[in-house]
Amino acid sequence: MAKQHVSTVINGDPIEFLCDANKSLLDVLRNDLGMTGTKEGCGTGDCGSCSVTLDGRLVCSCLVLGVEAEGKSVQTIEGMANGEHLHVLQRKFLEHAALQCGICTPGFLVAARSLLERNPDPTEEEVRFWLAGNLCRCTGYNKIIEAVLDAAREMRGA
C-alpha cells in the first residue's frame, strides 16, 4: 500500500505529511516531523509520556494512528508556550521543582492544561485522579500536584 497523505493542524500550524497506515501519531510526530518533545515511555498507553490533545481531547499519541490526524487539530508540548512566553503551568513546574529528570514533564504539562481547561478549581484529589494516567518515577508526585494547584489559583486570579 502506498503511504497515505494526511493534512492536519499541529499547534495551530497547517501541516501535511505522508505516512504508512499502521504508523502511530507518536512515531509521525517524533520521527517524521522531528517534534521530539512528545516522549515514548512504553508505547502501550500505560505511562502518559506521549500525551497530546486531538481536537481538544487528551489522548496517548502512541495509541492513535497517524492517518487519524486527517482534518483534526493536534496540540503538543511544543505549542504550549507562546513563543518565549511560558504557559503559567510551565512556569509553576519550574518554580516548584516539579520535575527532576523531566522525561514525563511534557506529558504532565499537556494533561494538566487539559484538566484546567475543564476544571479551573480542582481539589488535590481531582488533580491526582486526572493525572493518574501519567507516570513519574522521580518526584513521588508531591511537587507536580502542588505546581498544578498553584497554576490553577493564578489562572483563576484567586
Binding site: D46, Q90, Q100
Partner: protein, 760 residues
C-alpha cells in the same frame, strides 16, 4: 563547624535557596534532547533479536534470509565483538568482569535469560529492521532453567556456568554451582551475645526482584567514522563510564570514542551500565552508517538489570531495657544471569544504624536465569533493611518499648563500631529519630484497621573522581562545566555553590555538563556522590580562579598580590596601605583580561573522600481493608540527615521520590515469571509502579547535621530515603491487622491470605 567558616548559615546568599534550574526551560518546552531524540542524515534503525528461552545453548545463528531483505545494511552477533579475558577487575564489591559483560550485551555460548540479546539488525527503516529480526534463524538447545534464589542454590539445580567454583569458601568447593561468592563480616562473640539476651527473635523473609522503573527506555545514536573516530549520543548516568565500557567491548581506544551526554530520563542506578551503546556502535562500524538503537519498554523490563530478589534470615537479641546485644543475618541474593548482586552492600548496611557489639552478616551472590542485576538506589540496603527493621519492630513490641525510642537507645554516633571494621565517624542518625519523636502527628491516635509503622535506613554515600572547569566570560559572567550527568537538578546545585564561592549572583553562572572531550574524567552520577564530590571540585576550581582574579587585579593596580583580597564578588585592597582603589568586579577584571595575561579559566580535578553516610528514619500510617487486603497509605513522614541542603526543593524531591519508589516496592512491584521462566508482566500495566492517585503528600523533613569535610557541609541525599519504606509499611500493616508480612510485595491477595490465616 564548617571548614569554610565565612559561609555560616545566615550570611549565605545562594546556597540554601531554590532557584529555577538552568536546564529547566528546555525540559518544560520539549526542547531538551534525551537519548532517543537525536538523529543524523543517512541514519539506520536497529532492532535486537532476544532469546525466547530462559536457558538455552546457542548451536548456530543463520542470518542469510535476514541479510537478503532489501534495506537491511548490517547484522551483528557476539562474533562481531572481541572475546574478553576472564578476570575480576577493580574493587571487589563492584568487580567488573568483561568476560561476563560482553556476554550480557550479546549472548555467546548460551542464552541465559528470556530477553537476552543474541543478534542486532540495522536497516533503513524500523519496520524493515523489525521484519529482518524475525528472519534470523537460531538453533537452540533448550536447557532446564532456575529462577528462584533458593532453588538456584540447591545441589541439583541447573547450572548456568558449568565451571563456576564459588569464591569466598575456605577450602574452595570442588563441584561447580550457581553460588558465585560467599562473604562474611563479623565482630564480637555471637554466642555470648545471644546468651546474654532477654528476648531473641529469628525470622525469615523473601523479597522479589524489582526494576528501577525509569520512564525513559535505554536508547542511543552511534556514529563510527572512516578514520576510526567514533561518537555516541546516549542517555546514561555517566558518559565517561559508557565510553570506557563501550571502547573495551569493541576493542577500540578510549581516545577514539567521544560520548555526548544526552539528557537522561531517570536512572536510579540502572543506567550506570551499558546495553545498547556497544551494539549500536558495532552496527555503525559494520554498516558505515550512523545507527539509532532504542529499547522498548518490554526490552527494558526483560533485559536490563532489576535489583535482586532475596531470601534472608535475621536473628536479633535484646535486653529488657532495649539494648541490642547480638545480631546475625544471612542474606542470599539473586545476581541474575551473571555474578554481581549488591549483596555485599546489603551485609554491610543491614545493622549499620545500630551499636551492636556482637554481629555477623553472611552474604551469598547466586546466579539464576534472570536479567543480570544492576544497581538500584542504595543497592542492597533496602532489601536487608526490610528484614532487620521488621525483626527490630517485633522486639520493640515484645519488650513494650516505643519503636523510635528503642532505635534511639541503640543509635550509632561518631565512634560507634561497624560490622565491616572502621568506626563510624559522623553523627546524624539520632537526629533523624528525634525529628520524628518531635513530630505532632507521631502520637496521634488512629482508627479501626489503621496502624503506624516505623523504620530506619543507612547508605554510605559516595566520593570518587570528578573534574570541573570555571571560565570567566568577556563580560564577567561565569561558565562552569562538569562531567556529572544532571538527573535531578545538579546543574542548579553546582551553580549555587559556584555563585556562593565567587560571591556573584546565581543568575550570572551558566552551569553545563560537558562531553568526554571537553572536561576531565568524571565517575558516574550515582552513589549520592555528585553534590558532594563534584560540588567539592567546583568550589576548589572557584577558589583557584579567585587566586587568578586577585593576581589580575594586582597587575591592574600594580601592587603585590598579597595586597588584594576577594570579597562578595569583588577584588579589594587588603587595607589602606595598599592604596585607595575602587573594588574591581568580575566584569571590570574580565575587560582587562588581554593585557593582564589572556583568557581567565581553570580546571580542577579530585578523588574526593571524607563523605559522611546518609541516615533516614520514617513513619507511615496505613489503613488495611480486612475484606480485600488492600493497603491504603494515609500518611508518610520521612526524616533524613542531608548535611546541608544546597537546593532545598530538589533535596526534598529526592526524599519524596525515594519514599514513593519504596512504597511501590512494598505494595505492588515484582517480577512475575511463568513456568517456562518467561517474564509475564514486562510492561507498566502489570508491573505496577505507584500512580498519583495511590498516594498522599509525602512529608519530607530535612535534618541538617553538616559534614565538616565539605565546604558547604553537604551529605549525599539521593539514596538513604528508599531504604526504610518497605519495613515501615510492613510494620504499619502489623499494627493495623496483627499479621506480620514476611514477603514482598505485600499485595492484596497476600495480605488477605495472611489476615485470614491469622484469624485461623
Amino acid at each position: 563547624m564548617l571548614t569554610n567558616t565565612k559561609n555560616t548559615h545566615q550570611t549565605m546568599k545562594s546556597v540554601g535557596t531554590s532557584p529555577v534550574r538552568p536546564d529547566g526551560v528546555p525540559k518544560v518546552t520539549g526542547l531538551a534532547q534525551y537519548g532517543a531524540d537525536y538523529s543524523l542524515p543517512g541514519m539506520l534503525w536497529a532492532k535486537v533479536l532476544r532469546s525466547p528461552h530462559a536457558h538455552a545453548r546457542i548451536r548456530s545463528i543463520n542470518t542469510a534470509k535476514a541479510l537478503a531483505l532489501p534495506g537491511v545494511k548490517a547484522i551483528i552477533t557476539a562474533a562481531d565483538l572481541p572475546n574478553q579475558s576472564f578476570d575480576y577487575v577493580g574493587p571487589e564489591r563492584v568487580a567488573l568482569n568483561y568476560w561476563h559483560m560482553t556476554r550480557n550485551i550479546l549472548a555467546r555460548e548460551k542464552a541465559l535469560y528470556e530477553g537476552h540479546a543474541i543478534a542486532a539488525v540495522a536497516a533503513t527503516t524500523a519496520a524493515i529492521a523489525d521484519q529482518a529480526v524475525r528472519l534470523i534463524e537460531i538453533d537452540f538447545e533448550v536447557l532446564p532453567h532456575v529462577i528462584d534464589v533458593d532453588d538456584a542454590m540447591k545441589p541439583d539445580a541447573p547450572l548456568l556456568f558449568e565451571d563456576m567454583i564459588s569464591r569466598g569458601f575456605d577450602p574452595a568447593p570442588t563441584k561447580p554451582s550457581n553460588i558465585s561468592k560467599r562473604l562474611e563480616f563479623k565482630i564480637g562473640d555471637l554466642e555470648a551475645g545471644f546468651a546474654s539476651a532477654d528476648e531473641v527473635v529469628e525470622m525469615s523473609f523473601k523479597t522479589a526482584a524489582v526494576h528501577q522503573g525509569y520512564i525513559e527506555p535505554h536508547s542511543c545514536l552511534a556514529r563510527y567514522g572512516a578514520d576510526g573516530q567514533c561518537e555516541l549520543w546516549s542517555s546514561s548516568q555517566g558518559h565517561f563510564v559508557v565510553r570506557a565500557y563501550t571502547a573495551k567491548l569493541l576493542g577500540i581506544e578510549i581516545g577514539n570514542l567521544l560520548v555526548h551526554p544526552a539528557e537522561i530520563g531517570g536512572g536510579f542506578g540502572g543506567k550506570t551500565v551499558v546495553y545498547v551503546e556497544p551494539l549500536a556502535l558495532a552496527l555503525a562500524r559494520k554498516s558505515g552508517h550512523p545507527v539509532k538503537l532504542m529499547m522498548s519498554r518490554e526490552d527494558t523490563f526483560k533485559a536490563t538489570g532489576p535489583t535482586s530478589g532475596a531470601s534472608m534470615t535475621v536473628k536479633i537479641g535484646v535486653k529488657k531495657d532495649g539494648t541490642i546485644v547480638a545480631a546475625d543475618g544471612l542474606f542470599k541474593f539473586q545476581a541474575g544471569a551473571f555474578p554481581g548482586s549488591p549483596v555485599m552492600n546489603a551485609t554491610m548496611c543491614a545493622f549499620a544504624p545500630y551499636i551492636i557489639p556482637n554481629a555477623r552478616a553472611i552474604g551469598f551472590d547466586v546466579v539464576s536465569n534472570r536479567p543480570k542485576s544492576a544497581a538500584y538506589r542504595a543497592p542492597g540496603s533496602p532489601i536487608s533493611a526490610f528484614a532487620v527493621e521488621s525483626v527490630l519492630d517485633i522486639l520493640a513490641k515484645k519488650i513494650g518499648m516505643d519503636p523510635l525510642k528503642f532505635r534511639l537507645k541503640n543509635a550509632v554516633k561518631a565512634g560507634s563500631p561497624t560490622v565491616w571494621g572502621p568506626k563510624h565517624s559522623h553523627d546524624g542518625y539520632a537526629e533523624t529519630i528525634q525529628a520524628l519523636l518531635d513530630h505532632p502527628e507521631y502520637n496521634k491516635p488512629l482508627g479501626k484497621n489503621q496502624g503506624r509503622g516505623v523504620a530506619s535506613g543507612f547508605w554510605f554515600n559516595g566520593g570518587g573522581e570528578s573534574t570541573a572547569s570555571v571560565h570567566i566570560n568577556e563580560d564577567g559572567t561565569v561558565v562552569i562545566a562538569t562531567g556529572s550527568m544532571d538527573v535531578g537538578g545538579s546543574r542548579a546545585s553546582m551553580a549555587l555553590m559556584a555563585a556562593e564561592t565567587l560571591g556573584v549572583p546565581y543568575e550570572s553562572v551558566r552551569s553545563t555538563v560537558a562531553d568526554t572531550a571537553s572536561i576531565g574524567y568524571n565517575h558516574v552520577t550515582g552513589g549520592s556522590r555528585v553534590t558532594y564530590a563534584t560540588g567539592m571540585v567546583v568550589v576548589e576550581a572557584c577558589n583557584k580562579i579567585i587566586e587568578e582574579l586577585r593576581l589580575r587585579a594586582s597587575l591592574m593596580w600594580d601592587v603585590d598580590v598579597k595586597g588584594v583580597i576577594w570579597e562578595d564578588g569583588y577584588a579589594k585592597p587588603a587595607d589602606k596601605s595598599v592604596g585607595t582603589f575602587e573594588p574591581l568586579s568580575l566584569k571590570a577584571i574580565a575587560a582587562k583580561r588581554a593585557v593582564t595575561g589572556g583568557p581567565i579559566g581553570v580546571e580542577s580535578s579530585i578523588n574526593a573522600g571524607g563523605q559522611a553516610p546518609g541516615f533516614s528514619t520514617q513513619f507511615c500510617d496505613v489503613e488495611v481493608d480486612p475484606e480485600t487486603g488492600a493497603v491504603k497509605i494515609l500518611r508518610f513522614v520521612a526524616a533524613q540527615d542531608v548535611g546541608r541542603a544546597i537546593h532545598p526543593k530538589y533535596c526534598e524531591g529526592q526524599i519524596q521520590g525515594g519514599v514513593v519508589q519504596g512504597i511501590g516496592w512494598a505494595l505492588n512491584e515484582e517480577y512475575i515469571y511463568d513456568k517456562q521462566g518467561r517474564l509475564s508482566n514486562a510492561g507498566f500495566l502489570d508491573y505496577r509502579i505507584p500512580v498519583a492517585s495511590d498516594l498522599p503528600m509525602i512529608e519530607a523533613i530535612m535534618v541538617e547535621v553538616p559534614n565538616p569535610n565539605h565546604p558547604f557541609g553537604v551529605k549525599g541525599v539521593g539514596e538513604a530515603n528508599i531504604v526504610p519504606p518497605m519495613a515501615a509499611v510492613a510494620n504499619a500493616i502489623e499494627r493495623a491487622t496483627g499479621t506480620r508480612m514476611r514477603e514482598l510485595p505485600m499485595s492484596p491477595p497476600r495480605v488477605l491470605a495472611a489476615i485470614d490465616a491469622g484469624r485461623g
